[in-house]
Each structure stands twice: as structure tokens, then as C-alpha cells.
């Protein structure tokens, strides 16, 4: 075996910072890290100008607890409490506190990058807070961000960072327990790339693709997710898991209505971002409260379905605001509505039953408030994560942008005393073989067919209402699917993407099912038909999973509490507010 990397790889890059993922978070991190004088390499499996879940636009930035920047302990606790009612806890509240604390600094940084943070009148447009009947304890901004990605793409190019578009990470490289970079493949040319890095940052988005899209497509189009499927494959989760990092809350996934009428009113929240709630109706016009999974079943049994979202009660002004939201986030919806003769002033959007969707917000990569990826409670040297794929922050662009900017601000000091990374060349050889193997398989299986089988197992044997027998059968069948990975073929390098995604999804489906087997209770929106009651021993706890010395570890853990200095800061802030209130 050679010890010369250039004999194995088509390109070898040495860099201070490797950013895996060029969505909003990755682009912000790269621009800031370059501003701070670091050598930065960004790899993105699509193209930074339109990649990620904000690729086609987004209408809101949800990163503030209050409009004056205060972050009292009640706000952080309320957020945790609100989610606690639904069965989940933030694994580390310090992440959330840090993300929300610096929002006005983030506002300035985004404006410096050219991102429009203000409304047409030149002022911030605050999302109305709180809503009547809607339990939000925070606020955010309505924004015109149809073109946020081209704007950030331009900022990244101007920064002088090394950008590798159409380049997908295969695996992280590790040495003596540290992460020292990654291997990657160009999914158009098939070039194999090795990147040595002092710090590897991961912001590859959510995990949604263990389940079918929110918009069901019964034939061959299987990617109509609400968020970009390329950045919903959980790539970062799998990279971290295989490198020995912790994934948390992988039993708890978000859920939503399947949106049958895919004109995408964004789960109904477009109008909420302008302060006007939609209404929900049965087929015969009875107004109802948004049902949970159990109530939807009852409605079905009562003959009250289909159910619909309606905007027909809106004022003319609210309808115009809704149009603006579509222009900001889902412009194609206008064309689709026109094709169908659909008018939200008179028609209603059909919803189907609630179904599991993705793993984010509280689920994903376990990080601390410095965005270090954790193994147990210890950080893995050289590895960082932020954004949707990390557990414990806010989801959406606020978490991604804030995490990226904060981390990039800290990096110069972090990297100061770091040794040059050393590569284990046997890992490189192995990862190259893995990535390029499907190019040599003739008459093999298409990756999408294997992915459909993985999703079918999660739909059929996990789903909303779980039980021991179904979960164990699902795990058994998933095991037999792993044999098919070696039979996937890639006629061109394009299909290497799907192959690597299947590899990731197989690992993550196993993590998900094993976590579900462990949670033997029903709590919030986590349903076990065979354990219909809350288990009080599980109160406030969450599962973490990792690979250690070749063995899978699953642990039930307590959340990391707020640090004393954050508590003190929050209490002082609260006292100042009380004094100000008393004086006024």
C-alpha cells in the first residue's frame, strides 16, 4: 500500500477549515471564517447558489425570543417546557440560550453579507407575538428571501474560499479519536478527493428521507418533500455516527399532515408569519381544531374526512400578504395554482393523516454550546456541527446562520494551538473503494429502489403507532436490505449520490428503530400501542446513540442544564426588565 495520498486521490487538499454543507449555515460560516483570516474549503453536493432548504427562498427568520433581544430564563424554559409537553427535551439548553442571545449581532452580520433583513419600509417586520390560541413564546422576522442563496453564494465567492460544488462527503477521517478531515467524491466527474482539515464543520441539513414525502406521490416521483431532499438525507448525521459521535432523540421525529394539495401553504404557517391563522375544516364545512393523530383517526371513523386548511375567511389585505409569502418562499406554487384553477380565496387545501416526517430541532447530532460534536459528554477534537442536523438549537435559518457565524468567530482561537492533522491512509483506501464501487456493478439495482424499500420499512413497521412486534420485524427486514447496498449500480457518477445516501439512510434507519424499541411508553406525540401510558422514569430524559470500539451504545440521559453563568445572566436580565416595567 502506498503512503502517498496523491497516488490514491485525484485531488488532495490541506485546509484549516473544512465546511461540509453549503446551505445558509455553511455559507455564513465560510464567509465569516474567511473574514477571520482562515483557509477554508467548502464542499456542497449541489450548488451553493441554490442548495439547502432555503434554496428556492424562505419567508421568515425565526430566531428571537423578544423584539428587544432579551433572553430571560422563562423564555428558554418555556421553550423547553412546551416541547416537554410533546415528549421531548432539548439535550442541552445552553445551545439554545447561546443561539438566541446574540440575535441582534447575527442581524448585523447578515446585513453585512448583503442579506435583506428589513421589510419594504426599511424597518424589521416582526412576526406578531404571541398568537391567540397558538403557543409561541418567541418571535422572528418576515423577510423577502427568495434569493437568499444567490446572495450568500456571491458572498462566499467574494470571500475567496475554496468551493467544491457537486461534491459529496463519503466519510470523516479520524486519527487517535480526533477528526482530521474527510473524503469526498465529485458526483459529476467521479473524482475522488481527500481533504485534510484542522476543523471539520458539518451543516448538511435535516433527516427527512427515512419516511415518504409529505406530498404523497404514488408513482415514480418520490422526492416531493417540503424541504430540499438533497439536504434532508441526514448525510451529516451518518458521518458523525460512523465517526463515533452521538446522535440523540432518534426515536422522536417531527410529524405533520401530509399535504395532499401540494400548493404548499407551508403547513399553513405562511399566513401565521403575518399573524393571521388559517382555519381547519371537515369535508362538510365544520370548523375544527387541528387534530392530532388520535383525533384524526376518530374523524376518519366518524366520516368527517378529508380535512382541509382554508384561507377563504381572509381579508383582501391578508390574501395579498399570503401572495407575498408565496413569492418569498414557493414561487412555483403560483404556476401550479394557475394550472389547476386553484384560488385560495375560494378553495381549500386538502390534508391527509398525520405522519412522521423528519428528525431535527431536538433530534440529531449531539453538540455543546460551542458547537463541538460530543461523544458521551466529551467533545470530539476537530469536529463541529450546527444548523438543522444538530440537536438543541432552533431549527431553520436562524439556527443555521447563527451557529455558523458564532462558530466561525471562535475558530481562529480554537485553531491556534491545533496540530497539523495526520491521515490514516488505510481509511482513505477503504472510503475510496466504498464510494466508487457502484460504478463497477453491471445490471444492478437503482439506488432509488433501495431507498424506497428503506422508507417503506419505516412507514410500515415504525410509523406513528409503534409496537414491539412491528419494530423488531422492521429491524429484521432492514438488516436484509443491507445486503443490497453492494448490488446498487451507478451508470454515471450522478448515481453515486443516491448510493451514498442509501448507505447513510440504512445506518440511520437502524439507529431510529433501535431507539424506538427502547422507548417503552406513550408520551406527547410518541405513541406505543403496547405501552399506552407515560413512564415517569423517562421524565425529562432522552436517548443518545453512538458506536464505541465497534459496539453500538444506547444510553438514557439527563439533559445538560443551563450553565451557572447563563442562569446568572438570565436572572440579571429579568431583574432589569422588572425594574424597567416598574418605572414605566
Amino acid at each position: 500500500m502506498t503512503d502517498d495520498l496523491t497516488e490514491i486521490a485525484d485531488e488532495v487538499i490541506e485546509t484549516d477549515v473544512l465546511m461540509i454543507g453549503g446551505g445558509v449555515g455553511g455559507c455564513c460560516a465560510v464567509a465569516k471564517a474567511k473574514e477571520n483570516g482562515l483557509d477554508v474549503t467548502l464542499i456542497e453536493k449541489a450548488h451553493i447558489d441554490r442548495s439547502g432548504s432555503a434554496g428556492q427562498g424562505i419567508d421568515h427568520y425565526e430566531g428571537f425570543f423578544t423584539r428587544d433581544g432579551t433572553t430571560t430564563i422563562e423564555n428558554v424554559s418555556n421553550e423547553d417546557w412546551r416541547l416537554g409537553r410533546y415528549g421531548v427535551r432539548y439535550p442541552n439548553l445552553n445551545v439554545k440560550y447561546r443561539l438566541y442571545k446574540c440575535q441582534f449581532w447575527v442581524f448585523e452580520q447578515l446585513e453585512k453579507l448583503g442579506v435583506p433583513m428589513r421589510w419594504d419600509d426599511g424597518e424589521p417586520y416582526w412576526i406578531p407575538f404571541p398568537f391567540v390560541g397558538w403557543e409561541r413564546r418567541k418571535t422572528g422576522l418576515r423577510v423577502h428571501w427568495t434569493n437568499i442563496k444567490p446572495i450568500l453564494g456571491r458572498a462566499v465567492r467574494r470571500s475567496g474560499a475554496r468551493i467544491l460544488n457537486r461534491t459529496m462527503a463519503i466519510d470523516l477521517l479520524t486519527k487517535d479519536g480526533k477528526v482530521v478531515g474527510a473524503t469526498a467524491v465529485n458526483i459529476r466527474t467521479g473524482e475522488f478527493i481527500v481533504i485534510k482539515a484542522k476543523a471539520t464543520l458539518i451543516a448538511t441539513g435535516k433527516l427527512m428521507r427515512l419516511y415518504n414525502p409529505e406530498t404523497p406521490m404514488p408513482w415514480k416521483y418520490k422526492f416531493r418533500y417540503h424541504f430540499c431532499p438533497a439536504s434532508s438525507a441526514g448525510d451529516g448525521y451518518a458521518l458523525v455516527y460512523r465517526a463515533g459521535g452521538d446522535l440523540v432523540n432518534m426515536d422522536i421525529n417531527a410529524w405533520t399532515f401530509r399535504i395532499r394539495d401540494d400548493l404548499t401553504c407551508s403547513y399553513g404557517s405562511f399566513s401565521l408569519n403575518d399573524g393571521v391563522p388559517m382555519k381547519t375544516y371537515t369535508w362538510d364545512g365544520e370548523e375544527i381544531i387541528n387534530p392530532n393523530a388520535t383525533r384524526y383517526k376518530q374523524l376518519e371513523d366518524e366520516g368527517k374526512t378529508p380535512i382541509y386548511f382554508g384561507f377563504d375567511h381572509f381579508s383582501e389585505d391578508s390574501h395579498k400578504r399570503l401572495e407575498v409569502a408565496f413569492a418569498d418562499e414557493r414561487m412555483l406554487s403560483f404556476k401550479v395554482a394557475e394550472d389547476r384553477g386553484f384560488n385560495p380565496k375560494t378553495h381549500r387545501y386538502e390534508l391527509q393523516d398525520l405522519s412522521p416526517t423528519g428528525f431535527y430541532r431536538v433530534s440529531g447530532i449531539y453538540i455543546d454550546e460551542n458547537f463541538r460534536v460530543l461523544r458521551g459528554n466529551k467533545p470530539i477534537e476537530g469536529l463541529y456541527a450546527f444548523g438543522d442536523g444538530s440537536a438543541g438549537g432552533t431549527s431553520g435559518v436562524a439556527g443555521a446562520a447563527t451557529g455558523g457565524l458564532l462558530l466561525a468567530e471562535d475558530l481562529p482561537e480554537i485553531l491556534q494551538d491545533m496540530d497539523e492533522p495526520e491521515i490514516d491512509i488505510s481509511q482513505v483506501e477503504e472510503q475510496k473503494q466504498i464510494a466508487l464501487a457502484p460504478l463497477a456493478v453491471e445490471e444492478g439495482v437503482e439506488p432509488l429502489e433501495l431507498e424506497s424499500a428503506i422508507r417503506d420499512i419505516c412507514e410500515r413497521y415504525v410509523g406513528m403507532f409503534k409496537s414491539e412486534g412491528k419494530l423488531r420485524e422492521g429491524l429484521r427486514r432492514l438488516g436484509s436490505l443491507k445486503d443490497w447496498l453492494g448490488k446498487l449500480s451507478a451508470e454515471t457518477p450522478h448515481h453515486i449520490t443516491g448510493y451514498l445516501e442509501c448507505r447513510n439512510l440504512l445506518d440511520l434507519a437502524e439507529v431510529h428503530i433501535k431507539a424506538c424499541i427502547e422507548r417503552k411508553e406513550t408520551r406527547g406525540n410518541y405513541f406505543r400501542s403496547d405501552y399506552p401510558d407515560i413512564d415517569p422514569d423517562m421524565d425529562g430524559k432522552f436517548f443518545s446513540q453512538r458506536i464505541e470500539n465497534g459496539k453500538e451504545i444506547i444510553e438514557l440521559r439527563e439533559p445538560i442544564p443551563l450553565k451557572p453563568e447563563y442562569l446568572k445572566d438570565a436572572e440579571e436580565e429579568k431583574a432589569e426588565l422588572q425594574t424597567a416595567d416598574a418605572a414605566s
Partner: protein
């Protein structure tokens, strides 16, 4: 058939080929025009339709979702 490029209108700028998040297009070096090669991987985001400077791409939702 659901993502249609009007090749007469297309000026070969490569924007759709460059930015598609799902890498649905390939590039024909002879004609210098894009081709929809992986339509089943399209997620119907509309980015190509939005970004084409010549308004040369039409997107219709598949019948299977009607």
C-alpha cells in the same frame, strides 16, 4: 415530460444545469443545451423555472399527484 425546456428559447447559459439541487439536468456538449436526464429525482422546487433568464422552462405537476 413534466419539466420541459424550450430549446428554441434556451440560450445555453447553463444556469439550470449549474444550480439544480437534485442534479436533474445533464449538459449536451454538442448542442450546448441542457437535457432533463433524471426527472424522477426532481422535487419540483421550481428553481430552474425561476432562474432561467429566458423563461425557457415549464414545469407541470405529474398526473400522479392530481
Amino acid at each position: 415530460m413534466y419539466i420541459k425546456i424550450d430549446l428554441a428559447t434556451c440560450d445555453g447559459c447553463k444556469i439550470c444545469y449549474n444550480v439544480c439541487p437534485q442534479d436533474v439536468f445533464t449538459w449536451n456538449e454538442e448542442t450546448k443545451k441542457p437535457k432533463v436526464s433524471y426527472e424522477e429525482e426532481c422535487w419540483f422546487c421550481g428553481i430552474c423555472w425561476m432562474d432561467c433568464p429566458e423563461r425557457g422552462i415549464d414545469i407541470t405537476y405529474p398526473v400522479s399527484i392530481s
